[in-house]
Symmetry: C2
Subunit: 200 residues, 2 copies
């Protein structure tokens, strides 16, 4: 095709991005070289910087530039509560509720047999050490309610309860503002099973 080798390499390298196939990698490469050279330079620099600077917080496992992240060092958080989430995005979602003041553990993944990710790939040893430190009183599992998130929650709760840790799971049910007519039957069935007494 007479494509210069540096352009071929760029197209190939762009395919490391999730959701980018050969066609869009090609479109991205042409765009960067034709209209986006300053952006391409910024991206190369940002990648180098992130690769050099980012690591995992030794306490909560999220991305951080220091050994321990700002949140884990905060004296304003309730260290007796530990919320387990799949990703840093999920942690941000929890924070945005302003309804949680405990600490976190970020799995950076989920049990997903189809992708070859079993419990062993999730490096749960640090989570276990954390739960056995005598400070954590309750572990709140806030993995997704997908099949994989549920499997992860099941595995974690078995593992933690066998070690005498108190474990809870965030509630499933009809979304706030949700109409029964538009909620799927599984969610509604769960909301029924997990019904709570109302104060007289």
């Amino acid at each position: 095709m007479n494509t210069p080798s540096s352009l071929e390499s760029l197209i190939e390298a762009l395919r490391c991005l999730p959701g980018v196939g050969p066609k869009s990698a090609q479109r991205m490469a042409y765009h960067l070289m034709q209209h986006g050279r300053p952006g391409a330079q910024r991206l190369a620099d940002a990648l180098q910087l992130a690769l050099a600077a980012l690591r995992h917080c030794q306490r909560c496992n999220t991305f951080t530039e220091s050994e321990t992240c700002v949140r884990c060092l905060s004296s304003k958080r309730d260290a007796s509560l530990l919320c387990v989430v799949e990703t840093p995005v999920d942690m941000n979602m929890m924070e945005q509720t302003h309804a949680y003041s405990g600490l976190y553990y970020v799995l950076m993944g989920r049990v997903s047999p189809l992708d070859g990710i079993g419990p062993g790939e999730l490096h749960l040893d640090r989570l276990l050490a954390r739960c056995g430190d005598g400070v954590v009183r309750e572990v709140i599992i806030a993995t997704n309610f997908t099949n994989e998130g549920e499997a992860t929650a099941h595995y974690l709760s078995e593992m933690l309860r066998s070690r005498g840790v108190s474990v809870s799971r965030i509630a499933r049910g009809v979304p706030v503002g949700g109409e029964l007519e538009y909620v799927d039957a599984g969610t509604l069935a769960q909301a029924l099973r997990e019904r709570r007494p109302v104060a007289g």
Copy 2:
């Protein structure tokens, strides 16, 4: 949100890629830092290399690593024919037909008033110089049959014809293998208007 600044910068920098919004930039950044560090390093290197190595062929304007691209230097091409396309991808599509042995001029864009790209932004001076070199006998305009491609073709043909250059446009019509039932009315109308006599 307590996102480390190098991660913020990476998310922001990924948005220079076409079709990548805030959500997918975030997903890409997390993926690269969690599961794709070797790929991230390759991407950074490939961007640097492409930025340093790639330039425009002085004859056809496509991407090349030398002053003049391999195709423009080939003695096997018919230099009296010049095909004008919008992008290097379009040039590759033309080559794959094996039905063209002339040379090319790649506009690296199209007239697109909505994006602020007028004829002035397309740097047509080199195309004009090329057409007036005494070697080119016919310019074949192979821009897309979109509104923008058609506007570009119209502008180019006016400009070239006023300078006495012989100009043609690739044909519109029913695609090979196409069924009339599934062809849009505009294409069919065009195929009718551009009908050709058949040999008895």
